[in-house]
Amino acid sequence: MYKKPIILFNPNLPKLSKNERKVLDLLIEAGKLIVPIYLQQENNKYLGANFYPHGITKKEIEKAAIKDPSILDPYTIVEKRGGKLIATPYHIEYEKLLKPVSDQLFKAAQISNNKPFANCLRIQAKSLLDGNYEAATIAWMTSKHPYILDLCIGPIERYDDKLFFVKTSYQCWVGVLDKNNTERIVKYKDIILSSRRKVLMPSEKVDYYDKVQVRVDETLIFSGLIARTMFIGVNLPNNVNLMEEYGSEITVFKQTNAYRFKNYVWPAFNKIFSSEFKKLFTSEDIENGHLYQVVLHELAHTYLRYRNSEKNLQDLFPIIDELGASVMGIKVCGSLILKDIMTQKQLESIMIAFMARNFNLILNEKNEKSKYHYMVGGTIFLNYLLESGAVKEAGGISWPNFMKMFVSLDELASILERLLSQGTREDAEIFIKRYGNIDKLQRFKKASQ
C-alpha cells in the first residue's frame, strides 16, 4: 500500500448522473498522473527532500535567500549550478509531467454540466501550467459549494520540507459529497464556532470563524503526498492571508478514517489498555471517537491561527500547531459536555482514540517520515500525560484517569497556544526537548507488538 504514492478507494457512492460519472473518471485519471511528479520531489533520506541540493546547510540556503527570495518560495526547486543556488518554479521544472494532468482537467471542465465546477476546473488546470496557485485556491474555496464532486490538486502541503516547512509537495484527492454526514458535522461546527474564545494576542489572531466550511467526502483517490500521510481530515488553505479573506475548508475523508481505525487505532487500543478497561468501550465508540477527534482537531485550528506563528516557530511550527489543534479540540469538549451537547462517554472515547492513535504513531509508524511532525506531537502528548500522573503505566499497559487527563490537556492547551501566539523557535525547541523524548515511551513497546 505504501510503495507507490497512490491509493484508489472503492466507496459506496451516492447516485451520480452519467455526466458526473464521466467527469469523475477524468478527475481520477488526472489524480493518477500526480504520482510521477511527487516521486521527483520525495526523498526521505534528506530533511529537505529533493527541494534543495542534498547535503546543503540551512544557513547556506538562508544566506542565498536574502539575495534571491525565490529560493525560499513554496513553489520552487533549488539547485546548485556553478556554485550558485538557483530556484526554478515548479510549473517550469515539471512542465512535461504537468501538461497531461492539466489536459485531463480541461477535458473534464469541457464536459461538466455544472458551470461553477467547470470554471473551477479550468482555473485549477491553468494554475498547474502557469503557477498561479492562489487563483486556483480561491476558485476551489468559492465556486463549488455544495457541489457533489470535489477535486483538490496541485502543490499544497509542506510536511516533506523538514528543513524549513516551506516547500509544497504535489498531491491530489477526488471525492464525492456525503450529504448526511456533512449536514451532521456542519451542525457541530456551527455550535462550536458560534461561541468566542478569548485569544492571547488579539492583534495577531486571524479571525475567520464565520467563514469555515466543512464537507465529508467519499474518497476515490489519494495521490502524491496525501497518499503517504493518509490524512483523515484537512483544513485548507495554508496561506493565512487567503484564510482571512476566504475562510477555510475542512474536508473529512471517510475511507481513511475507516482504514486508519481498522489498521492502527483499534489494534493499538486492544494492546495498550487492560482487558477490564477495554470492556468499557465498543469498537463503535472508539471509531466514532477517532472521527470526532479529527473533526474537532480541524475546527480547533480556527482558534489557533496566529498571523506570525509560522514565521516565529519556523520548522517546528507544524509540531506545535498540529498538537495544539488536537489538544484544543479535546478541551472544547468540556463546554460541550456541560451544555449536554456531548456525553461523557463520547469525550472519553475521543481521548482514548487519540491516545491509541499516538501510541501507534510512536511505536509502529515512527519510520514513516511523512508522519514525523505528528509522531513528535504524539510523544509530547503522552509524556505530558505520564508526567502529570493522568496516565499510569504498569507492564506496558496504560491506565488513564479521565479527570486528571482532562485537567492535563487543559494545561497543555494553554502552553501550546502561548507558543503559537507569542513563542519563538527557541521556546518551542526547549518545550519539544522537554517532552519529546520517545525513549520514555519504549516501555509500551512490548505491549504494542
Binding site: D190, I191, F406
Partner: protein, 161 residues
C-alpha cells in the same frame, strides 16, 4: 422568577406555550395521519401473502412501533408539561432567560429552555444540562461552578435578558 402554570403534579417538563402547541400539533398529526397511513400499509402488505418473508410488512410494522412509541412519549410529555408563561424581567437566571456567560475562556450566549425544547444548534440549552442547572438563580457577575465527573469549570454570568 418566571410564572409557572402547573398542569400536573408529576415530574416536570418545562415548555413554552409555543413548545406546548408544537407537541400537540405533532401528536395530532401522528394520531390522525401517520397511524392511518401505517395501518393502510400493513393491510396492503398482508395482502401480499406469507408474512414470514414479507419485507414491506416488516418495514411497516417497524414504523408502527416507532410511531406508537412517539405517541406515547408525547402523551407523557403533555401530562408532565408545565407551561412557562413569558418571564417577567428578573435580575437572576430563570428558564427562558437569554444569558451571556464566560466559561473556560469562552464567551457564549444562549437561552435556557426545558429539555423538550433544547436545541444547541439554535442556542437553546436544557435547564437539565450541567450548565443550565448550575446557572438557575445566578445573578449578573456571579460565578458558579459547573462540574461533571470529568469536567469542572467556573462560569461567570455576564448578562441576563
Amino acid at each position: 422568577m418566571a410564572k409557572i402554570v402547573k398542569i400536573s403534579s408529576r415530574k416536570k417538563v418545562y415548555v413554552t406555550s409555543k413548545g406546548l402547541s408544537n407537541i400537540k400539533f405533532e401528536l395530532e398529526f401522528l394520531k390522525k395521519e401517520k397511524r392511518t397511513e401505517v395501518a393502510q400499509r400493513l393491510k396492503t402488505a398482508r395482502e401480499f401473502g406469507d408474512l414470514a418473508e414479507n419485507s414491506e410488512y416488516d418495514a411497516a410494522l417497524d414504523d408502527q412501533i416507532l410511531i406508537e412509541r412517539r405517541i406515547s412519549r408525547l402523551e407523557e410529555m403533555l401530562k408532565e408539561a408545565q407551561v412557562i408563561t413569558k418571564a417577567p424581567k428578573t435580575d437572576f437566571v430563570v428558564i427562558g432567560s437569554t444569558i451571556t456567560i464566560e466559561m473556560d475562556g469562552e464567551v457564549d450566549k444562549f437561552t435556557i429552555v426545558g429539555r423538550v425544547e433544547a436545541d444547541p444548534s439554535k442556542k437553546r440549552i436544557s435547564n437539565e444540562s450541567p450548565v443550565g442547572a448550575a446557572l438557575l438563580g445566578a445573578k449578573v457577575g456571579e460565578i458558579v461552578e459547573v462540574a461533571t465527573p470529568i469536567v469542572r469549570y467556573k462560569c461567570k454570568v455576564l448578562e441576563i435578558k
